[in-house]
Point group: D3
Chain length 242, copies 6
């Protein structure tokens, strides 16, 4: 039995349902899910991430203690990925890193379609650090505020589908990564829209994809290199319970 712990790096109750990964449950795979005790209510900038990372660190330690086999940080900015990799020995995965590497295997160039223009520098920098910048065709955005997404979901899906189509036609992307976690049905809607336009382009839904990849790490007996991510030495700290 492989047990995967999802850490949604915000404090907002109800923001995360597990419906999108329910189909992956099996006699050999189970999930658990936590929010943060301290941190931001949503993540839209580097400051939000900074407030989330100490909480992610605590949740990663807790996951290992609870016997989880792998940890997934449920946010496309992968906040705290390196930190959690230092703190634990079980594999820690982020959905953008995971999606980007699988997308790099699936075609020649991939694009990310997401909600806000302000995340472009972050995603481009991460793609560079992850080593896959040459495979990133573009980051395209629909410019809808995060808090309005749920209420305007039909409009959002249409806009994402249109940007995905533009990414294929104008940026020469052949694979699409959905750049927002937690919106049910978007991947299918974009895929269907592209197929209807004659574009047989896969759309990566980040969280289910990362769950499957995390299970692969566990089965293969692999995890982050502790030579690269050594466990921090104990030292005095003020303001945190570590």
């Amino acid at each position: 039995m492989t047990h995967i712990r999802l850490i949604t790096p915000v404090i907002t109750e109800g923001i995360r349902k597990l419906d999108d990964i329910a189909f992956l449950k099996s006699p050999t795979l189970e999930f658990s899910h936590v929010l943060l005790a301290t941190g931001p209510s949503s993540i839209e900038c580097e400051f939000d991430e900074a407030l989330a990372v100490p909480g992610v660190a605590a949740r990663a330690l807790e996951a290992e203690k609870d016997g989880a086999d792998a940890v997934i940080i449920d946010c496309m900015g992968d906040p705290g990925l390196g930190v959690a990799r230092e703190l634990v020995s079980i594999p820690v995965l982020g959905p953008f890193e995971s999606s980007a590497h699988l997308a790099a295997m699936m075609g020649h160039r991939f694009s990310v379609v997401t909600v806000l223009d302000s995340v472009r520098p972050m995603l481009e920098n991460l793609a560079t650090i992850y080593g896959v910048a040459d495979k990133l065709a573009s980051v395209r955005v629909i410019d809808v505020p995060v808090l309005e997404l749920e209420a305007r979901i039909t409009e959002v899906q249409a806009a994402l589908a249109k940007e995905a189509e533009q990414a294929v036609l104008h940026d020469h992307a052949d694979t699409i990564i959905l750049g927002c976690t937690g919106f049910l049905g978007c991947a299918e809607a974009i895929r269907a829209h592209l197929l209807a336009k004659g574009l047989d382009v896969p759309v990566i839904d980040p969280i289910p994809t990362t769950v499957c990849l995390a299970e692969a790490f566990v089965k293969a007996g692999l995890a982050q290199s502790k030579h690269c991510h050594p466990r921090p030495r104990p030292k005095p700290v003020a303001g945190y319970d570590f």
Copy 2:
């Protein structure tokens, strides 16, 4: 039940045993294995690969027809990877591409330790095309002819372990990819050698790792982009039964 077909792209009976992936068998995962009907007896250069690829193409078509859920090309040069991706819709994976992307996620830089100096250009070019060249610290070789490997396995393991150690100490690798498929025990021996030197460095055994990744593709419902790898149009061909 996920069914994975391994294609070993040579004609040599007995060169491939499935012992290294036996531990992955489960009620939900089964393997099948084929050699080529036409092709080389081993793969050591581009010419060998060229003679293997039409045979890999035939075996990939056959695998899809047989109902396999994914195909793995069992050679670190990933011969015929792009060709097979054109011919079928089920995911096709190569062990070098798979290992390189997972290694890129596991640390800052990875090295490949392998047997022959002549494969360096090929592996470096593949790493570039796969988009992970920035993560490749080095390709290190032990310079033992392929046909002598089995007879000199103890010496080979020691040499691979020594090169892996050099890769960590001098090339700043923190993750090692084993650059030869099919040698039982090498990954464990290298890992143990490095740990004994105080270097907590993971060693990727390519075939079991690729099997786990292939299963992840199948579970996540992903495969190569057919927009990037469209199915070839039928046309007259001489000398092949396609």
Copy 3:
């Protein structure tokens, strides 16, 4: 007397005339030309290339045996370039590699105008492997099926000229490579169109250019590095006469 052998890597009689290089014949330069005995009828994807390469290998060996001084593989995908370089010691050239390096010397950025969208990944990957990706401004296509080109040649020339103009004006190309071999007059037509628009941009016709470069290799006494491309060791092979 320098003798250059052109290998057109398809089986289709009549597809190749030598009119475009007739002006290069001289008392010191002669050509010969062969098609393949086994292979595809045209080359439009990686699968077609895979079926061509064993035939190219046979023709390269034959060319060296026949006393040719250099070999040119007459296809912009350069299929079998590395393989032929392993098999023989005389220089082997491909028209895309040759054109790309000369274009890189002629200006700041070059574009390729060609017929089909599906060759973009292949050309971009080759440019990367050849080391000139930074000089490639764009690959632009006219989206006309190969088999309709001859019948629609006037339309094709106009479309290529228009894409070349767009490459100069929008992608900042200053040199154009014609991405289809064997269409008489296209290079001149594109060059004239650009000049008429006030754009003094050279257009590289790949095969005559590659012939001149092959002669330069022969005169300078240079060929591929056999240290990089060592001759394959003999070994059992099934299905091929090597």
Copy 4:
């Protein structure tokens, strides 16, 4: 009068003296200095940085409120640089980013000599994100634990000087960045050692250099782009006083 606020991103009293920048004080330039109220006692890994960043954020906001003209984060990992740039409009500088860009202007390649092997990935990643990876010849380390540095300062200086010499002779560096802030005299000692070996190589002492660059930003009326680093929108937060 330009007022520069140094934020030393740890909680440890006495770790930072201002002797190394005292020579820069003038009727037009003054400094102030703060430690963190919450955070780690030293910074040696990503986890330490994560605990520092919320404290840096608070200190950056305070600096702007106090009327400082610029902020410097006093650590070679530049922790919180992007976060502080979001929160305030006055220029925020980090010593590694500043030193790397000046070094890039001073020669062909620069090396960083620092104390611990574990910071190599971080410094290499930062150089990549900062856009100057092509100018980084090497990161060289002396492998002395941070807490032993002060007690072994003579040995440390000698080791740094030796690594700097190796960087020039073997890695072709022509400019050296001192990769530890706060060690008085190291830059001069390394420079003198290199000169004695006939190597006229400048050595960048990060904090004084960053102070001078911060003053240049203020004088030129420049600061981080708020289009790139927009001020975070207010939202509920748990566990922090923002």
Copy 5:
């Protein structure tokens, strides 16, 4: 007192006023200014630069002899930057190199807006050599001949502002470098235009920015690496007084 010598690398009297840097004068900073005795009347191509560089060399030597603390070459092509760095030991700065590195620190991507299409290759090559090519979003031009600029200054400012806006909206630039030295008010006009469009994007005016950076070099005791830029050995020369 820091004394900065500006060398305007042309022979044309009156082309350079110091109004744009007058605000930087202080009891501790003074400027002097020279034109060339031999060279071109303006710089618009590589040939013009070639005729300027020997004159720049003479003026750099003279500046050091006159006791200047730093030299600035007043042209966005930075002509003679490497040459002057060989000849003298005081810091030599060029406005494009200086602006590009500061812009790289200020945001994710910068664009240069300038007057002539023909300078794009030069600026892109310099950005590559300077190591900041990854940070250059685009070079945009207004296509107005240099000699008509002064007479059409209102039109020029409007065109530059429009291109800057396009660079932000379409090329994802967040920082703008003004690619023409000596046009008073352009930086402010572009900045104001962008702010009016809701784009809080800094605009770098190259010469005042480079003056401030030169002063920072002097204060920090830094200059070009003489290991990289060694003083030329004396040798016979024809046609020049060196």
Copy 6:
């Protein structure tokens, strides 16, 4: 009849003999040769190059007026390459650019063996601008002053051969470019040394290679893009007869 003009960009009589290209003379190929009227006596740094370029410009104009079909600048720094390309319409070639692009076609990585450490930055920057930096394995030097080369030719050949061998064994080069023009026999000596060590590595002698490539440009009807290298507009100049 193709007429190629060699411009040796120094003033020193007797430094250039044409023995190394005598074997290329034929009924269809002739050479002429000039030195500079103004310029340096040798080229060892950027300052020397700056003094040579105006003289190269004059000689390039003269060559075109004299009816030459192509111009070669006889120095591995390619001084004035871009300038001469602006001034004339006949092809202008430099030996480093030419050798680097041919070497890039011949193998996976090439190394340059040359005389002085101080040219490394220049050669590396040129390789980057030429677009072939990824193919450059290393620049290796023997550290013998230029003026002592002729007297110590046996020692020089041995040292170059040894560095070439090191480049193959340690830097993984498979092709060698001789980085000094005009030393008769060095290419053959290095090639023979490498063969004797079992290394079948081609050695490019830059000037004969560039002559052959220049002839290829002429035959193919190609030259530099005048869109990239437009002819300078006439304007007042002081100190030069242009």
